[in-house]
């Protein structure tokens, strides 16, 4: 049995929706970076009215280090999203992450 956890470190997140109002806060997962990471998105395909963007994803190395695909980091998009009021989050893990490496490092 494999346990997969994503832990995202967020610079800031949305405000909670009002009590008893239909929840409308929206985080879009941006499946970017290179083919060895997530690799669906290469352009700005994030819905304009979303509150936050979840960059998916950074990987976990065997020594517990967090690996970000720097060559394919969407720096310009992140700047654009932040300039339009979106919060940008980083998802750590991915579909085959082994958090044991993190626990032991």
């Amino acid at each position: 049995m494999k346990i997969v956890i994503f832990v995202s470190i967020v610079s800031l997140l949305f405000t909670a929706s009002q009590v008893n109002a239909a929840p409308t806060a929206l985080t879009m997962s941006y499946c970017g970076f290179g083919a060895f990471y997530c690799g669906d998105s290469y352009n700005d395909d994030v819905y304009s009215r979303s509150n936050s963007v979840l960059l998916s994803y950074a990987l976990i190395a065997g020594n517990g280090a967090i690996i970000i695909d720097a060559d394919n980091y969407p720096k310009n998009l992140v700047t654009t999203w932040r300039n339009t009021g979106k919060r940008v989050l980083l998802s750590i893990g991915g579909p085959s992450a082994d958090w044991t490496h993190v626990y032991e490092s």
Binding site: I3, V7, S8, A16, T24, A25, S41, Y47, L89
Partner: protein, 173 residues
């Protein structure tokens, strides 16, 4: 894991205000099975219950997958499925007929809960795509019950875009 989260919180606090979000896959909260020991684990369902109990103060938000885990046999594209996911994570009475809320567990607070949905039938599997109509009905159900949560996550922007932003636009409207 609880110790890792608590330690991570301490580390993050040292570099400025950061938010920490936990996303679950396969380790869903479910009232129909026992809660494992925090130091032993050993089963996927309810693995997070002791973690939430021990480390909730360090966690800002929970992003719950509402499309892949089994919940009382409901079709993953049904309104009942989304409702059951919500009720179990909040630890309100879920739809398992012979189950009770987990004793000693307060559930995830509504101001920390987000539910993840898929952006199109092609994003993962068609049987996991609830579609805009069900999501709209789910929001209406929350409102009618006086329930709340923070909002939704969509997996992912690429497939939502190709699907004409049907899911994202339903969520924000």
């Amino acid at each position: 894991m609880a110790n890792l989260i608590l330690d991570l919180r301490r580390q993050l606090n040292a570099i400025g205000r950061k938010y920490l979000v936990v996303t679950s896959d396969c380790i869903a909260v479910y009232q129909g099975v026992a809660v494992p020991d925090a130091d032993k684990g050993g089963q996927p369902f309810n693995y997070l219950v002791p973690v939430i109990t021990l480390a909730d103060s360090a966690i800002d938000y929970y992003q719950v997958k509402a499309y892949s885990n089994w919940y009382d046999g409901y079709d993953h594209t049904s309104l009942l499925y989304l409702q059951d996911v919500y009720l179990n994570w909040r630890n309100l009475q879920g739809y398992c007929p012979d189950c009770k809320p987990i004793a000693g567990f307060r559930g995830v607070a509504q101001n920390k809960l987000m539910m993840g949905v898929v952006g199109s039938a092609d994003a993962r599997k068609p049987i996991e795509y609830a579609g805009p109509g069900i999501i709209k009905s789910f929001k209406t159900w929350l409102y009618s019950k006086g329930y709340d949560m923070v909002g939704f996550n969509v997996w992912n922007s690429h497939w939502d875009y190709l699907n004409g932003n049907q899911i994202s636009s339903t969520i924000v409207n």
